[in-house]
Amino acid sequence: MSEGSVLAQQMRPAAEPRPLADHALVQLTLVRFREFWREPEAVFWVFVFPILLATGLGIAFRNRPADVVKIGAVGPQIAAALRTEKSLAVDVLDLAAGEQALRAGRIILLATPAAGGGVTYHFDDTNPEARNARMLIDRTVQHAAGARDVVPVTDALVREPGSRYIDFLVPGLLGMNLMGSGIWGLGFAIVDARRKKLLKRLIASPMPRSQYLLSFLLSRLTFLYIEVAALVVFGQLVFGVPVRGPLWELALLCLISSLSFSALGLLIASRVRTIEGASGLMNLVMLPMWIFSGVFFSADRFPAMFQPFVRALPLTAVIDALRAQMLQGVGLSQLGPQLAVIGGWLIVCFFTALKLFRWR
């Protein structure tokens, strides 16, 4: 090269102004969007699966009017007395056939005549349904024989949204979804890029490293609100699941939760070089939360000695807070303990991840 061209190289023109779309952060974030949308499985697991699950469980556990109770009676007098109660379906049987039907579960209780005009109830007292039936039947028998209620009572029926299983379930699914997409979304993409030596190629360019991580954050936030909205709107429209607290508080809660899980994902992905290693580690982290954090049933059911552990899991705190916010309208200011757990995980995971992170 001549001396002239070397000098010409020194007089490199200054950076030209460029449209916003050509900034590194915008391009990196667009890449995240594209990689997500072009992966049909990811779209399914994040958006479709929670809704399918909510639909299935919502149908399975829908609240039904009380079923007719099937019972057996030996002798026409007892049968006649029991038939005065509409919610009882009474079969008149002989003793042997009645005991057979009881053992087979075709009837839940068998009433037989006893000495001195009395009645004997045959039933399994460990079965709550049978215990309820016994109370109903006894009341019917006593009333048929002339007993009267001493205190006048009336029933006011309450079937309010917010206390059904589906109401319990939707915040649980929402929390599970935030965890899955946070941990998988970040962890998997980073490990994959490291495995392909794409991370190494990127840091060989002048890409600002913080913007690489920031692009994950921006795309996560966008998808976060789409996936939260999909599930919440679905729950509201199909099952009438309420959001009693202010929407902006729900949005803020989801944001902090998602950041916390993303930080956990980043920590998991900070060193791992293979997809297999990452999957194993992620499942190891997520499995206890699927089991203990009360997605499908209350975490209170675990024995007291497990509770400190259960309460320390980020997903438990997220789901508790979501249930309180959505179902009871509890304000964020009263969810201090949960927010402290979520925020604590966020800070510890994020800074540990920054310390451990390897680009190669």
């Binding site: 190289q9 030209e16 915008v26 391009q27 190494k200 840091i203 060989a204």
Partner: protein, 314 residues
Amino acid sequence: MPTLPNKPPVCVHGLRKAYSDVVAVDGLDLEVRAGECFGLLGPNGAGKTTTIEICEGLLAPDAGTVELLGMRWETDGPELRQRLGVQLQETQLSEKLTVDETVRLFRSFYRRGPTVTEVIAMVQLEEKRGSRVGGLSGGQKQRLAMACALVGDPDLLFLDEPTTGLDPQARRQLWELIERFKTEGRTIILTTHYMDEAERLSDRVAIMDHGKVIALGSPRELIASIGAEHMVAFAMDGGAAPLNLASLENLDGVSVARCENGGYELQVRELHRAVAALFEETARRGIVVTDLRTHSATLEDVFVSLTGRHLRDE
């Protein structure tokens, strides 16, 4: 941070890098002149990639200094990255992005440089512009990697084994591309374990072995340095008694003789005289020569004469 006109754009001194089990680079010195294509040639494991990755600022050396364009990684990292173009071995670009999106992404990291359209045209991928990276052939992927190295209009271009694993046609296409970059006056550092690639593309070559430079010069100088322009390989009929290497070296026009895979190989200055002398000698001894082959001396022969091994020996 000016590039002094008489200061070479790449100055590497006393470079050393050891891994737990092996010394990868062992006291390496290199100077690459402005506008030249400099080849690092050597077998796998010679330390080429470690050397180039230290130069690219991806690895820190245990000892030694690297000065690029008058700058150092320790003090001028961000500025250096803007002026370097890098193509790594084994990078897999995201398969779900298109060619255009990939180039646009890398272009966004640089302050200045050609437009996305121009870069795609430079590597002749116009027809594949809207295609997903996953659907490209090996050669097209490698040209895309080249495009990503060129988006910042680099003063210094590092190419690490750019044609490894490609079919012959794709290799030739890539060579033509690199030859065009050379005419644009860029300084290029290229690693390869293909002697034909180094010979064709490099103005100067450093032959590396066990982390050291064992020979340095233009391909022509290096080939001349072994004192031979041609190589003659031959084998003999099975029953013949082994030939004495010293007697072969005494033949007219032969400089060095070696045993090679059960046959012999001669480094030869003047082909016509050496072959005539060889036949005279074998006829005198009543030996039948089979499988006689000759070729012009190559960098491979330089490597063999320096180390006694072939470049491709694993």
